[in-house]
Amino acid sequence: MPDVIEQIDSLLAAARAELAAAAGEPHVEAARVKYLGKSGSLSSLRKGMGAVPPADRPKLGKLVTDAIAQLEALLEQTRTALGQRALQQDLEREKLDVTLPGRTRRRGHRHPVSRALDDIIEIFARLGFHVADGPEIEWDLYNFEKLGLPRDHPARDMQDTFYLETRLPPPPGSPPTRGAQEQLLLRTHTSPVQARTMLGQPPPVRIIAPGKVYRVDSDVTHTPMFHQVECLHVEKGLSMAHLRGTLDAFAKAFFGPEIKTRLRPSYFPFTEPSAEVDVSHALCGGKGCKICKGTGWLEVLGSGMVNPDVLSGVGYDPEQITGYAFGVGIDRLAMLRHGIDDLRLLFENDVRFLEQL
């Protein structure tokens, strides 16, 4: 019996010493297995209980149980201490150089024109306009004739046209041509979508038609291809006040709530009355600067009430139905919005330009 007590004491002492020296969890676990594992020293003592006289068994049993409890507490203590020490060490590690660059992934950039286009589509969606689509390779009939621009009309000079070499039989109602080539062209504006849409459905019509358009023109302020959005609203009871309202809402949504709009009489063959639309120049606050030629206003689009001839040309009754329409040059709007001063940048696709926007 004293042997056993001694044995327990020495086991405890040895375990204490080992745990005191433990540097980490593996040591603690090794000690646990050694003393408390299935075949650990203290567990063996308990198994060896059969050799002890029955009278001593309760006492001895208690001694062993106490020893196990002690050891378990010790293990737990050691673990906690080690954890504390490890935490302390971790917190005191050498500091990172937080000024080193982070791991980033370069994001791509939207083209300013396509972005402006999407913004405009969204603004008009809020105003209840649907997107309508039309071909860029278009017939003279829809690009000019149906919009009140017959052949030999001087206003055709305003829109020098690219024609295609291809010859196809034009749709019925097309004007006669001297060269068959002059039937198929690259649309000079998005307005043919107006004619196509109205020919295809009865009123009301409330659409925008975004897309590419083409004119034989290339200089500092013109590219042979550019982008427009056509807006058309035809319904009973529309007036120029609705045109103004829609334009004003659009300008404020696109450029900012402080923007003002101004209508000036002008001429477009497919609208009457027609108006040029100026917006106040945000950059100079309408005070006048070099960009706005000192006027405080920027000319941004052409608009008007749909010409009654256009309405009757598509089979609507102009006495019953009125409408307004306008066409916006997107490229210019994008330039104004970003302060881009050179039109040619838009189609050079220089990444150093694109990634700034």
Partner: protein
């Protein structure tokens, strides 16, 4: 069009400032786009050159003694076009020229110069810098030049829209100003015609193309230079003074807007004017010295023998007014617009006259202009206007009459406009009330306003004169069923763009026309639609692929030092085929214009950084970007299959299939094509059919529940023939999963080289297994793995590794 404000004020004597006039006109639709102020300070005077001697040691300078009325001064001058005795403008020391130049006493080549003799350009009068401005010999010496010329003046550049030919003159603008301000017009003096016989004959053989032809005769003229103020007035309007007779026709044109032409009556064979079509191939020499071969569609003015003018476009040389001319036949005619336009286009001539006739002139103004011009010729060139007139006007144009309803005006403008106001506004434009009542009145339109033919035209006039500012702002009501719903396609598109941006791709926008050789370099069989009149051959063909544009963009950026490039474009291509979406009927689209999406990559995946990077992009970067894109668009049934694609390198040329159908191609650029476009061979491209993607896209996904039971993870590595595609192995793995326990398979390693035998590769897969209704046991997982092993062995000869 250039308008002299001084002249304008003579015709409509308003008290407004120049600024106010510009503002009023602009807001009435006659946009003042630019203004030029013409003035010459008192320090510039007329002076006579007394003597001129060369400066020693200079090949062009002369030293002159100049009399400026106050004394004789020594001036050094570099011009060559003058001699002693000439009268020229001299800027005295202290004077400031319009270009800001200050005149000082100076020494040139050591010779003292007390002033400067001036050219027209130096005085801001014209672009003429060929030599000094030579003044008429009788000019008063010492008189300030500004006063001699009738300065100061302001010149407006006015943008006159094509519907307003009536405003292409000082009178036209004055009429507008008068209507806007109520200040009455002051019409210029004319020499009205009486009933006398005129010594000439006019035959109008084509009254359709020439509805009216008026001729007057002025005898005893003396051709010479016009007085200085007349010359200045012409110059201010951008017209070069020529001689008093020609200047008179130009003055009348600028004043009244009607083109006029003066013939030397003595050079008209038979003293005859015949208005006729040219014979096909007939020749004539126009005033610009060019011999022109005429078409049978050209209208000419001929004498008894030959054409003497291209009607309404340009006069001919044979009957041109010259220094010896004494008798003038003055033509004031009306020509049909479309015919003039065709002739002007055919001969590449755009003149003041053709510009106006193309827009439509007024037959009544023609008579006024003839009388005014006759008066001006007599004033400037002496002579006597013969009292008679020849007037061929077989079918006088009836007055246009238009009904106008004030209620309609109000409805269209969205604001109340009273009947009284409508009447006042229309009257101010010289429309005459003819009939009707306040609710509906018939108006007679003045002959010069040929653009006013319908009620809407008159409504526009009322709106214009009262100002568009008076129109209220009103938002249209939302229509029934018209909601601002975001369409699924728009959602998918913006998700796609976000994915492309996340993949580091910059968006580009290219012209739709490209050099045809670029298309042929990619596809020798390309048959693009061609532009008949391109600006350059570089823009001659409608693109049938987005690749030429993207490859040129790569080249452009590489040439500027940007080497790491990932770009994309979403836009139409143009095919000479019927459009399957709009194939039939009058509204069919003439060509097929499908949207395509293309990507191009070259350079490094990411720039080298301290954490790594710097590796070159390869096929799998491109494929990964597409996979991300397709996932973002909610497209699931996707396969990449090797394919022959001509402009791509055979090692990686492949096509994308969506739901089993070809939706695009991708791969490395073919080395030959890389050479053509001057881009690195390590360039990777994809081009996808956007509609094919949209057809399979899912804008919004449904929710399937979160798994309730844990997954079991297993890794398996196989050694297999190197030629076996990964996709094949994946298919076999999935095929072995009869109980649908395989939740996910990821291919995480591909390895070739020792200890893997030659011609073989090791491919490792991570499997995630899960049952939806219970916790999977190890036994079940082991069984599936064994099944996979057996299947890959029997199907592909694959051995489990390690």
């Amino acid at each position: 069009m250039k308008i002299s404000v001084r002249w304008l004020r003579e015709l409509c004597p308003v008290t407004l400032s120049d600024d106010e006039i510009a503002q009023r006109l602009t807001l009435a639709g006659l946009e003042v786009e630019g203004r030029e102020s013409r003035s010459i300070g008192p320090g510039v005077v007329a002076a006579r050159v007394v003597s001129r001697t060369p400066v020693a040691g200079s090949d062009h300078l002369s030293v002159c003694q100049v009399d400026d009325g106050a004394g004789t001064h020594q001036v050094v001058c570099g011009a060559q076009n003058y001699a002693a005795g000439d009268v020229v403008p001299m800027a005295r020391p202290g004077a400031t020229l319009p270009n800001g130049m200050q005149i000082k006493q100076a020494k040139l080549r050591g010779v003292e110069s007390n002033g400067m003799l001036c050219s027209q350009r130096e005085l801001g009068l014209s672009d003429d810098h060929a030599g000094l401005m030579i003044l008429p010999p009788q000019t008063l010496i010492g008189a300030p030049l500004g006063e001699l010329l009738g300065l100061p003046d302001t010149v407006f550049e006015i943008n006159v829209t094509p519907n307003r030919p009536d405003a292409l003159s000082h009178l036209g603008i004055a009429r507008e100003l008068s209507a806007l301000t109520g200040v009455p017009l002051r019409l210029p003096q004319t020499a009205p015609a009486g009933e006398a016989k005129v010594p000439a004959h006019v035959h109008d053989e084509d009254p359709e193309r020439c509805p009216r032809y008026l001729a007057r005769v002025i005898e005893g003229v003396k051709v010479g230079p016009s007085p200085l103020p007349v010359q200045e007035r012409l110059r201010a309007c951008g017209v070069r003074p020529i001689s008093n007779v020609v200047d008179a026709t130009n003055l009348a044109l600028l004043e009244l807007g009607h083109p006029l032409h003066g013939f030397d009556l003595d050079r008209l064979a038979g003293e005859k004017i015949i208005v006729r079509r040219a014979a096909e191939g007939e020749l004539m020499t126009t005033l610009d010295g060019k011999e022109r071969k005429l078409s049978a569609d050209d209208l000419v003015i001929a004498d008894a023998e030959k054409p003497v003018a291209l009607a309404g476009v340009m006069g001919g040389q044979t009957s041109e007014v010259s220094d010896s001319t004494t008798r003038i036949l003055l033509e004031s005619a009306m020509f049909e617009a479309a015919g003039i336009r065709r002739t002007a286009r055919r001969h590449g001539l755009h003149t003041e006259a053709s510009h106006r006739f193309e827009r439509g002139m007024d037959e009544k103004t023609a008579a006024l202009a003839a009388d005014r011009c006759a008066e001006l010729i007599a004033q400037l060139a002496g002579g006597r206007v013969l009292p008679g007139v020849i007037d061929r006007y077989p079918a006088p144009l009836p007055q246009t009459q238009v009904w106008v309803r004030p209620a309609r005006v109000s409805a269209l403008l969205g604001t109340d406009v009273s009947a009284r106001e409508v009447e006042q506004r229309l009257s101010s434009l010289q429309l005459e009330p003819l009939d009707g009542n306040p609710e509906r009145r018939l108006w007679g339109v003045p002959s010069w306003r040929r653009d006013l033919t319908r009620e809407i035209d008159c409504i526009e006039e009322v709106a214009r004169l009262r100002g568009y500012d008076s129109i209220p702002i009103e938002i249209p009501k939302a229509g029934v069923g018209e909601t601002a719903a975001v369409l699924p396609q728009a959602r998918v598109k913006s998700a796609a763009r976000a994915a492309l941006a996340a993949a580091g791709c910059d968006e580009v926008l290219n012209y739709s026309f490209v050099p045809e050789r670029d298309l042929l370099a990619l596809d020798p069989a390309a048959k693009p639609l061609r532009v008949a009149n391109p600006l350059t051959v570089e823009q001659g063909a409608m693109r049938t692929s987005l690749w030429p544009g993207l490859l040129r963009n790569l080249g452009h950026n590489l040439a500027r030092g940007t080497r790491d490039l990932k770009i994309y474009e979403l836009g139409r291509i143009y095919l000479p085929l019927p459009d399957p979406r709009h194939p039939d009927g009058p509204l069919a689209w003439p060509a097929w214009e499908p949207d395509h999406l293309a990507l191009a990559m070259t350079g490094r995946r990411a720039p080298k950084g301290w954490t790594g990077g710097g590796e070159a992009v390869d096929f799998y970067d491109l494929k990964g970007a597409l996979e991300d894109l397709l996932e973002a668009m909610g497209i699931s049934e996707v396969a990449f299959v090797p394919a022959q694609v001509a402009p791509l390198h055979p090692v990686s040329a492949s096509e994308l299939r969506v739901a089993g159908r070809r939706a695009g191609v991708l791969g490395q650029l073919h080395p030959t094509a890389a050479q053509h476009f001057e881009v690195p061979p390590q360039t990777f491209l994809a081009e996808l059919n956007w509609q094919a993607l949209l057809d399979q896209a899912t804008a919004l996904h449904g929710f399937h529940g979160v798994p309730k039971f844990p997954a079991v993870a297993r890794d398996l590595a196989f050694v297999v023939d190197a030629a076996v595609p990964a996709e094949k192995m994946l298919q076999e793995i999935r095929a072995a999963d009869g109980k649908r326990l395989l939740e996910q398979v990821s291919l995480f390693d591909v390895y070739r080289g020792a200890p893997v035998p030659e011609g073989k590769k090791s491919v490792a897969f991570g499997l995630s297994l899960r049952a939806a209704d219970r916790t999977l046991t190890d036994g079940e997982a082991d069984a599936l793995c064994a099944g996979i092993r057996d299947r890959l062995k029997s199907a592909l000869g694959a051995e489990i590794r390690g």
